[in-house]
């Protein structure tokens, strides 16, 4: 298990430093992303609220606008419809998009821009019939359009934020549940390995020491043995000599004589 949930690294001190650095980074990143997710969620909720609000009013306003156009058609007959349709030269309002930055997420924002296109022909549309109504309808639709563009911004913001929140949350979770534990495990593993190594080293040293000691002892023992051998040899030779002497008859000294101090011994005279 520990093998699965950790990085495949050589358990060295350098690696340990590197991993520790990474772990630190992951923790800090996690905190930051968490903050970002919170900010996004906050914004998301605000947007949602605004959308609901706008949508309820939009229904009303759109209905109003359409009805005011019906009024215009009623007042001006069918011809006014064509007059209006043909009266359009250039779009009076255009939608422009810009970007807004919320916690690093770029949210498109739409707003209407008056192109300032003169509606000269529109001015007089329905002069004979229903012109005032046409202008009213135009006002109503302008209002509706502003609201629509606002709603469009909000709606796209909603979708973008939703996506961003999901990504961020995924990252937060990944950091929290995968990367950080993995790194922690790795650190643990490396530390464990290092400890093991240390213990091994210690043991080895001890072993070496023990061996050395044993060696020394052995050597000493050997030396002692050699010395003992020499002595024995010497004693033996001494004894031989003594025996020789005895053999040669010049001493009644028996074996009970001091065999060791042969040199200083006065010859025994029988």
């Amino acid at each position: 298990m520990s093998n699965q949930n950790r990085l495949q690294v050589a358990p060295t001190v350098t690696q340990l430093a590197v991993i520790k650095l990474r772990l630190q980074g992951a923790v800090r990143g996690h905190a930051l992303l968490k903050k970002k997710a919170d900010a996004l969620t906050l914004r998301h909720r605000a947007v949602l609220k605004a959308i609901v609000e706008r949508k309820t009013t939009l229904g009303e306003i759109m209905r109003e606008a359409h009805f005011s156009w019906t009024r215009a058609r009623h007042a001006g007959g069918e011809s006014v419809k064509h007059a209006v349709l043909d009266g359009v030269e250039r779009a009076k309002v255009r939608v422009r998009a810009s970007e807004e930055n919320v916690a690093g997420v770029k949210i498109p924002k739409f707003f209407l821009r008056d192109t300032g296109a003169e509606q000269r022909r529109m001015e007089l549309a329905g002069l004979g019939r229903g012109g005032a109504r046409v202008r009213e309808a135009r006002g109503a639709f302008e209002k509706a359009m502003t609201l629509l563009s606002e709603l469009a911004s909000l709606q796209t913001a909603f979708v973008t934020l939703d996506e961003a929140i999901r990504t961020t949350n995924r990252r937060v979770n990944a950091l929290e549940n995968y990367v950080t534990p993995r790194l922690q495990n790795t650190v643990k593993y490396i530390l464990g390995e290092l400890d093991e190594l240390e213990r091994e080293e210690f043991f080895r040293l001890k072993k070496v020491q023990a061996k050395k000691k044993r060696d020394v002892e052995q050597a000493e023992r050997e030396v002692a043995e050699i010395v003992a051998d020499d002595e024995a040899l010497r004693i033996a030779s001494e004894e031989l000599r003594a025996y020789d002497d005895v053999v040669r008859g010049e001493g009644g000294r028996g074996a009970g004589g001091n065999l060791i101090e042969t040199e200083q011994d006065e010859d025994l005279l029988f």
Partner: protein, 345 residues
């Protein structure tokens, strides 16, 4: 004398008129909750069933309005085919209004480079004339006039009113109104050649129409770049308010001022008492329809045909309002646009 020539047509028109939707019908229709219900109800009134049979669900407001329109066109065409002079000329005059609209449509289309089929689609069938499609092909006003319009009845209006310089884009609406003014004046002139009673009745109606035209232009030109001098040129040279009322209208700048002008005329007193600006328009329409109603009460005159066409228009706009209200679930505003003059005396 009248009956021998126009008796059948008049009877036909009155027959059609008696089949107009009545106040009760509108009340019933107002209770419908969906356009399917409207359709069912209209089908139960035998006249509409022929037209509505082919309407497939889901029913759209345009479908019903289109049916109503087809029916009106058919009525009108039947009438026109029966007619002999002077009724035929009179009926032709009635088509000129639509013709002007069509011409303007074609002009706009020409300026935008639309195809002639597209334009003909939008044109009102009552006001079609043969050379209409070729308006699109002509490049400039002289050509337009020389090649296309010279054969149409509109030529005499156009020559007086429009010069080449006028045909820039702003002026299409102006041309429309100038033509309409010329048309009203010409119609008035024509009516004076008819029999006495017709002339009398038509004078009343056209006076009212001229006043409406002037008032509407005045009200609708507030807040636009239409100068006062140009505004004056759009007023007709007759009308109950002519001339001093028009002079005063020309200087008006708000709806209230218009109302102040209107109050001084007994006929418009009630209209001016309304609060909302749009009520003036509505009030004027009611006035118009009421006088049409009075005209229909009399017999043996041509003005009945005019009144008849006005009632047709009213039915169309009522149906359109009603269906749109139901489709957009705005039934609370139903009364705002419906004008029901009870047709059955």
């Amino acid at each position: 004398m009248f009956n021998r020539k126009h008796g059948f047509s008049e009877a036909f028109v009155r027959g059609c008129h008696s089949k107009r939707l009545s106040k009760r019908d509108y009340e019933e229709l107002g209770r419908c909750d969906s356009l399917e219900d409207v359709k069912t109800y209209l089908e139960s009134i035998s006249d509409y069933s022929d037209y509505l049979r082919n309407v497939q669900p889901p029913v759209k407001p345009e479908d019903i309005v289109a049916c109503c329109k087809r029916r009106h066109v058919k009525e009108f065409n039947t009438c026109q085919h029966q007619a002999s002079p002077p009724l035929s000329t009179f009926l032709e005059y009635l088509t000129y209004g639509h013709m002007i609209d069509n011409l303007m449509l074609a002009l706009n289309g020409m300026l935008h480079g639309r195809s002639s089929e597209e334009i003909l689609d939008k044109c009102s069938p009552i006001g079609l004339f043969d050379s209409l499609p070729s308006v699109v092909i002509s490049g400039n006003v002289q050509e337009l006039y020389r090649l296309v319009l010279v054969d149409t009845p509109l030529a005499k209006y156009l020559s007086g009113a429009v010069s080449a310089a006028d045909l820039d884009e702003l002026n299409v609406e102006l041309i429309r109104n100038v033509l309409y003014k010329e048309y009203l004046q010409d119609f008035m002139k024509f009516c004076s050649t008819l029999d006495l009673r017709t002339n009398e009745l038509m004078k009343n109606l056209l006076d009212l129409e001229a006043d409406r035209h002037a008032i509407r232009i005045t009200v609708n030109s507030f807040g636009t770049e239409l100068s006062k001098s140009v505004r004056t040129t759009l007023y007709t040279n007759f009308g109950t308010m002519h001339p001093d009322g028009f002079v005063r209208l020309a200087t008006c700048e708000t709806v209230d001022e218009v109302k102040q002008v209107l109050v001084t005329y007994p006929g418009f007193h009630e209209v001016a008492a309304k609060d909302d600006a749009h009520d003036v328009d509505r009030g004027l329409r009611i006035l118009e329809l009421e006088s049409c109603q009075r005209v229909l009460a009399e017999q043996f005159n041509l003005a009945a045909f005019y009144a008849f066409s006005k009632f047709q228009e009213n039915e169309l706009s009522n149906l359109m309002w009603l269906t749109e209200c139901i489709a957009q679930r705005q039934k609370s505003s139903l009364g705002e646009g419906l004008i029901c003059i009870d047709t059955h005396l």
